[in-house]
Symmetry: C2
Subunit: 705 residues, 2 copies
C-alpha cells in the first residue's frame, strides 16, 4: 500500500539498534546532508569531513526521477548511473530496428548523443527546515480531512514561494513520519542525452538467478550528459575519478536517494505488510511476470517490448520475497514488539507523555481501515485495474481540467504549480506505446479487477466493462483512444472541465466514469495518512525527548549520506571476498556453458586478450543502502569516485526493516573495472579520456587503507 510506504518515526529501529550504534558495531544510517553523523565518523573512523566536503558531494549527486541516483563525473556535464536506471530511456529510444538495450550504445561525438525522451534529473542545492510553519496550520480538534487540507495548502504555498523566488524545483519533504518537514530545492535538468550503455547482458549478467547475489560480475553502468541551452552543462561540482579503486576495509561513502524503508514502522504496520500488503503485491507481480514472459517468448520484437517491465517486475518480486521471509521470522517481529513495549513503558512512566499509547492504537486502527479498502484503492485510485499508460494519461488530462481552475493550495499535490514542469514532461513524452502490448496488459488488468470485485455482477465492474468481456473491452479502449498521439494530449490539456466532459474518446470517458469513486477512495486514504502523520509526530516527540539519540529518518527518495567499509563476509561457512575481478566474469560464464542468462556478449570474447583480467570488477561494502540508491556514487575520504552502487546482496533484502552488517552488503561496480571495459572492450576512447582527464592527482589527500 502506497500509504504505508511513507516514512514514519525513527523510534523503533533506533531503540533496537541503540547498542549497535553506541558500541560502534555497525555502519547504519541513511543520514540527512543537513544532519550528518559527524560524531560517529570522528569516533569510529577518525574522519572529519568539513562543510565543503559535504557540499561538494551533495552537489555532485543526482536524483533520477524514474527511481534512481547518479553523479556528475566531468566538468562537461557527464553523468554516470546504472544501466538499469538508464534502461527506461534505452527502451524508449529503441525500436524494432535499433535495440540499444540488447546491443548497447556509444556516442563517439556529442552530436551522436541521443536526447532522452522524458528524463528529469534533480541536483539538491539547499535544505531548509519548515517544520514550524507546516505544523502551525494544524489546530487542535481539526478533523483529519481539514488537517490534511490545511497541511497540503501550506506545503503548496511554501513550494510556490520558493520556486518563484529561486527558480528551483521546490519540494516540502515529510521526515520522521511527520515530525519534521524540510524544504528541498533542486536544480532540474531535462535536456539529458545518452552517451554510452553496454549490452544489457554485460550490465545484468546472470539475470534473475544472480540478481541480489554475490560474488557478482556486472558492468551495470550507463553514461548520460546534461545539457543547458543546447550545450553541455558546465558543472562546478563533479567527482574526480579514482584509478585506485577500493582497498579492503577502506572507508567509503554513498551519496544517493534511498527510496523507502520501514525501520520506524510500528509492529501493527509491519504485520499488515507481512499478512496483507506484500502477499497482495506478490500476487500481482506473479501474474504480470507470467503474462509478459509468456507474451515476450513469442518473438524477438515482443521480447524487446516487454524487457524493461519484466526486469522491474522480476526485481521487485525477488525483493519482496526476501522482505516477506524476513517478516515471517518470528524472532525478528518479537524483538520489534519488545522494543516498542519498552518505549511505551518509558513514555507511560513520564507524566509528560500520558496518553501516548493512543498513538499506537491510532496507527493500528487507521492501518486496518486502509487494509480493508486496499482492493478498491489499488484498483481504481492507484490504477492497477487499468494497467496501461494510456489510462494514466487519460486520468491526468481529466483531473488536470478540474484541478487547474482551483487555487494552487487546494489542488491534488501532483497538480501544484511547483510540479507543473515535471507533470508536462511526462504527459507529453514521445515514448512509444504499442497497442498490442497495451491491449494484453489492459485485458489482464480488467480481468483481475473483475475477479477482485467478486465477479462481473458487481456494479462497478458492470459500469467499467460496459457489457463486454474484459478482453473485448480492452480491445475497444486501446484501439479506440487517440491518446497515443501527443498532439491530441496537448489539445486536451488546454480544455475546460466542460470541454473534457464533451470529449469522445473511450479512454477519457473511462477515466471520467470512474473519477468520482477514485477521488472518494483517495480522500479516504489521505485522511488515514493524516491520522498516522499526527500519531507518529507524537511518538517521535516522546522519543527525541526520552532517548536523545542522534538518528536519521526513514528513506524518502531524497538525498542521503551513508558510510561503511569495503569488506567481505561469511556465508555457509565460506569466506566471500569483498572484491571480484574481470577474470571471474569469464569463469562464471564458462561454468554455465555461456548459456543465458550467463552468456557473455560476443564483444567480450573478441576482446578478452586485451583485458587485464585481474582488474577489480565488483565489490561490496557495509554502507546502508536500499532501492533508489541504484546508481549512487561511492567515494573515498578524498571524495573521489571509486565505484557505483547497483545492488544489495540477498541478505540485504530485509534491510528495510533493520540494518545489519553481519552479512548484508551493498554491491558496487569498481571504478577500475569500468575504465578497463570502456577502453579495451568498447573502444570508448573519448569517454575514457574525459573520465581520466579528471583523475585525482596521487596523494592529493592521504588515503588510509
Amino acid at each position: 500500500m502506497r500509504n504505508t510506504l511513507r516514512t514514519a518515526g525513527t523510534f523503533l529501529a533506533t531503540v533496537l539498534l541503540l547498542n549497535a550504534i553506541h558500541n560502534a558495531q555497525g555502519d547504519e544510517g541513511m543520514w540527512l546532508f543537513n544532519d550528518p553523523p559527524l560524531q560517529i565518523l570522528k569516533e569510529r573512523y577518525q574522519f572529519e569531513p568539513d562543510a565543503s566536503w559535504l557540499e561538494h558531494l551533495q552537489k555532485s549527486s543526482i536524483r533520477f526521477d524514474n527511481g534512481g541516483s547518479g553523479s556528475f563525473v566531468s566538468a562537461n556535464g557527464l553523468i554516470l548511473t546504472n544501466h538499469h536506471i538508464g534502461f527506461d530511456t534505452l527502451q524508449k529510444l529503441s525500436d524494432a530496428k535499433h535495440n540499444y538495450v540488447k546491443d548497447g550504445f556509444l556516442a563517439r561525438t556529442q552530436a551522436e548523443e541521443k536526447p532522452a525522451l522524458d528524463l528529469e534529473l534533480n541536483v539538491l542545492m539547499s535544505i531548509e527546515d519548515v517544520t514550524t510553519r507546516v505544523n502551525a496550520v494544524i489546530k487542535p480538534g481539526m478533523t483529519p480531512e481539514k488537517a490534511y487540507q490545511a497541511r497540503r495548502a501550506v506545503m503548496a504555498d511554501i513550494e510556490k514561494e520558493s520556486q518563484d523566488k529561486t527558480g528551483l524545483r521546490s519540494d516540502v519533504i515529510e521526515l520522521y513520519g511527520g515530525a519534521k518537514f524540510h524544504l528541498y530545492r533542486y536544480k532540474r535538468y531535462t535536456d539529458v542525452r545518452l552517451v554510452f550503455a553496454p549490452e544489457q547482458q554485460a550490465a545484468f549478467f546472470g539475470g534473475d538467478p544472480d540478481n541480489f547475489e554475490y560474488p557478482r560480475y556486472n558492468l551495470d553502468v550507463c553514461f548520460f550528459r546534461a545539457y543547458e541551452n543546447g550545450a553541455p552543462a558546465k558543472i562546478e561540482h563533479y567527482l574526480k575519478w579514482s584509478t585506485q579503486g577500493v582497498a579492503e576495509n577502506e572507508l567509503v561513502f554513498v551519496s544517493g536517494n534511498p527510496g523507502h524503508s520501514n525501520r520506524q514502522f510500528t509492529t501493527a504496520q509491519l504485520e499488515s505488510m507481512r499478512d496483507k500488503q506484500i502477499p497482495r503485491s506478490l500476487q500481482r507481480l506473479y501474474r504480470k511476470e507470467d503474462l509478459l514472459t509468456s507474451w515476450g517468448a513469442r518473438g524477438d520484437e515482443n521480447e524487446r517490448r516487454v524487457k524493461k517491465d519484466l526486469f522491474s517486475i522480476a526485481n521487485s518480486r525477488k525483493a519482496l520475497l526476501g522482505r516477506l521471509a524476513g517478516l515471517m521470522d518470528p524472532e525478528f517481529l518479537s524483538q520489534k514488539a519488545h522494543a516498542e513495549d519498552e518505549l511505551r513503558k518509558a513514555a507511560e512512566a513520564n507524566p509528560a507523555y500520558t496518553g501516548l499509547k493512543d498513538a499506537w492504537a491510532q496507527i493500528q486502527t487507521s492501518q486496518q481501515k486502509l487494509d480493508q479498502q486496499v482492493v478498491p484503492i489499488s484498483l481504481l485510485e492507484w490504477g492497477k485495474g487499468f494497467d496501461t499508460p494510456l489510462f494514466e494519461i487519460a486520468r491526468t488530462l481529466v483531473r488536470h481540467a478540474d484541478e487547474k481552475i482551483k487555487p494552487n493550495g487546494q489542488r491534488l499535490p501532483e497538480f501544484r504549480d511547483s510540479n507543473r514542469d515535471s507533470l508536462e514532461l511526462g504527459l507529453f513524452s514521445d515514448a512509444p506505446i504499442y497497442n498490442d502490448l497495451e491491449t494484453l496488459k489492459l485485458s489482464d488488468a480488467l480481468t483481475w479487477l473483475t475477479i477482485e470485485y467478486g465477479g462481473p455482477g458487481n456494479p462497478i465492474v458492470k459500469q467499467l466493462l460496459a457489457g463486454k468481456s474484459p478482453h473485448e473491452r480492452a480491445v475497444e479502449l486501446i484501439s479506440g483512444t487517440r491518446l497515443a498521439d501527443v498532439a491530441f494530449r496537448k489539445k486536451l490539456y488546454a480544455l475546460s472541465p466542460e470541454e473534457i466532459a464533451a470529449t469522445h474518446d473511450p479512454m477519457i470517458e473511462l477515466a471520467r466514469t470512474i473519477d468520482s469513486e477514485a477521488r472518494r477512495l483517495r480522500k479516504y486514504e489521505e485522511e488515514q495518512a493524516e491520522v498516522q502523520t499526527q500519531a507518529y509526530g507524537k511518538i517521535n516527540a516522546a522519543r527525541f525527548a526520552l532517548e536523545k539519540t542522534h538518528s536519521y529518518p526513514d528513506a524518502t527518495f531524497t538525498l542521503r549520506l551513508a558510510f561503511g567499509t569495503a569488506r567481505g563476509y561469511q556465508q555457509d561457512g565460506e569466506n566471500i571476498p569483498y572484491e571480484t575481478t574481470i577474470a571471474g566474469f569469464y569463469q562464471r560464464a564458462e561454468q554455465h556453458h555461456n548459456q543465458p542468462p550467463f552468456d557473455l556478449p560476443s564483444r567480450w570474447f573478441a576482446r578478452k586478450d586485451r583485458l587485464n583480467l585481474s582488474t577489480p570488477f565488483n565489490f561490496v561494502s557495509t554502507a546502508d543502502i536500499i532501492g533508489g540508491n541504484s546508481g549512487s556514487p561511492v567515494v573515498n575520504r578524498a571524495g573521489e569516485f571509486v565505484g557505483i552502487i547497483f545492488d544489495g546482496n540477498i541478505q540485504s533484502l530485509v534491510v528495510g526493516f533493520a540494518y545489519s552488517d553481519k552479512q548484508s552488503r551493498a554491491v558496487s561496480v569498481c571504478s577500475q573495472g569500468i575504465v578497463e571495459a570502456l577502453k579495451n572492450v568498447y573502444d570508448a576512447t573519448e569517454l575514457t579520456d574525459e573520465l581520466l582527464g579528471n583523475v585525482a592527482a596521487p596523494n592529493q589527500m592521504t588515503r588510509v587503507r
Copy 2:
C-alpha cells in the same frame, strides 16, 4: 475445487446444443463405449461400426494412470502415447548424468528397455450398469453424511466382489453427476518399459508460446512396452498402422480418457468457477511457476529437476486462462442461464417434477458452502499447504494405519481393497526425491498457507510452524524425515495406529498433527458432494424424461469414443490448413533463428537431407476431446492408427463448457510423420519394423476419402 470437477447432469449443454445435434452441425460427444452414437454416425457419415469394431478399439486403448491415454500398436505389447505423458517416467528415470528428457532415449533391444518406476496402465475389459444397486441404499430422509457413507459402502462392496471374481481392477464410476453408476473392469499392466522417446525439444517444439497453438510441429510421441511375467505381453487387440495418414475431411475416431468437463454444470457452479475457483487456482499456478522457473534458471541440474513440474504448471496456467476468458464472456453465460431457465420452466409446467427447482438451489447452496471452506480444504486436505511428495507419503502412511483396521466399505475410497495394488505401486515407488527442491517447494507452500490463514498468529498456522519461520520449518521437515527411503516406508506401512503414533519422524508427526482437522474438512466436502449428486440425479431424471435426447455424460477420466473429420478452419480471415509437414517444422525454427523454445535438436539438422520434407507431420480434426485425451489413438473407419492426439488449439480451451466445431480443433501427430522421423532421424529400425510389420493390407476395408 476438486468437488466441482466431478461430473454433473448432461441437461445443460444438451439443451444448448440440441439444435446442433439434431441438425447434424457438429461432431460433439465424448460417448460411452456401451452407449455409442450409432444413429448419428449412420445418418451423418453412413458409417455403422459393429460390436467387434467397437470392442477392438476399446481393448486396443489404454489409460495411463498419470493422466493420459495410449494404445497398443503391436502384438508384442508395444504401446504408443505422448511424450508429455511419458515425461513423468522419463524424468524419474533420469539423473544428473542421464537426461532422457533432454536427450531422448532409444532401446535397440528388449534388454535395453527401461522399466518405468511406478506407471500403471489400464485396459477397459467390460462395463456393467450398477445404478439400481447403488441407488437402492439411499433411503428417503437420510442425512447427506449417512447417504454418502451408504453409497461409499455399496460401491466398495461391488468393487470387491468384482475384483475377487474376475481378478480385474474394478471401479464404480459415477456418471451424469450421479444419475448413473457403471462398474468398469480393467486389466492392469504395471511392468511397463520405456522403448523410445525423442528429445523434448522435438516433442514440445515451440514450448509455452506454441502450446495450444496451430499450425504445429510436434513429435509428441513416446513408446513403451507392456510386460507380463517378465516377457513382452501378448496382445490380441492392437491397432494396425496406417501408412496413408489422413485425407482432408476424412472421418476419424478418437478413443481415450477425457479427464474432466463441465458442460452439464449449473450456472451457479460455472459462476463459482469463474469468480472463485479458477482465479484461485491461477494464483497458485503463477506463484509456483515463478518459484520453479527462478530456481531452475540457477543451473542445468536445477533445470532438469523442475522441468516436468514446470511443463505441467505452464500447461495448466495457459488452459485455465483460456477457460476463464470463456467464462468472462457475458454472452456465453447468459445463453447458459437461458437454457437452464427453459428446462426449469418445462419441469415446473409438468406436475411430475414439481419442486425440481429446489435441486438448482441445493446445488447453489452447497457450492457456496464449499467456496467458503475452499481455503482450508485445499491447504490441509488437498495438501496444497504441504507441497511435497514426502508429505503425501506421510499422510498415506498415517491414514493407512487407521483405515486398514476398518471394514472395507467404511474406508476412505483410496484405501479400499480394490485400490490396494495401485496405492502400493505409488507409495513404494523408487522415484527420486531431491531435498533441495522439496525444501524450496515446502517452504513456499508453508508461506502461502500462512498468508491464506491470515498470518502466523492463526492457531492452525502456529501449530504447523511450531514457532519457526516457514523456511526454517521446511528445512527441519525435509532434512529430518526418513521417508525418502522406500524401505522405511514399507516398515511404517505395516504398523498399527498406536505404533505410527509412537513413530518419531517430523513429517509423520506433521501429518498426524493435522489429520483430524483435514478429515473433518474432507467429510464436509463429501457431504456437499452427496447433496450435489442427489440434486443432479433429480435434474437428470427430469431431463431424460422431458427431452428424450441421446447424450453422453461429462468426462470422468474413463474411456470414451469421439469422432470428427480432419479439417482446417478460419482464423483472423486466414485459412488454416488441416495438416502441416516436416518442411514447416524447419521453417518455423528458421523464423525464430533456431532460438529456444524454437530450436531444433541437432540430430534434426544432421538428418535433414534424408527426410521427405513433404511428409505430413501434425493435423487437426473436429473430434471432441479434452485434457486426459493426450496420447489417444486416432483411427480411421478401418480402425487403423492414423495419428495420436496431443493437444487442442487455443480456441478449444473453452470446450470444457461447450463444444464447437467452428474453430475449436483437436491436434494430432500423423502416423506418417512418426515413421518418417523414427526411420530417418532416430535410426529406430527395429521399432519401425515392428510398427510397419503391422501395416494394414491396402484395401482391407473400403476407405472413403
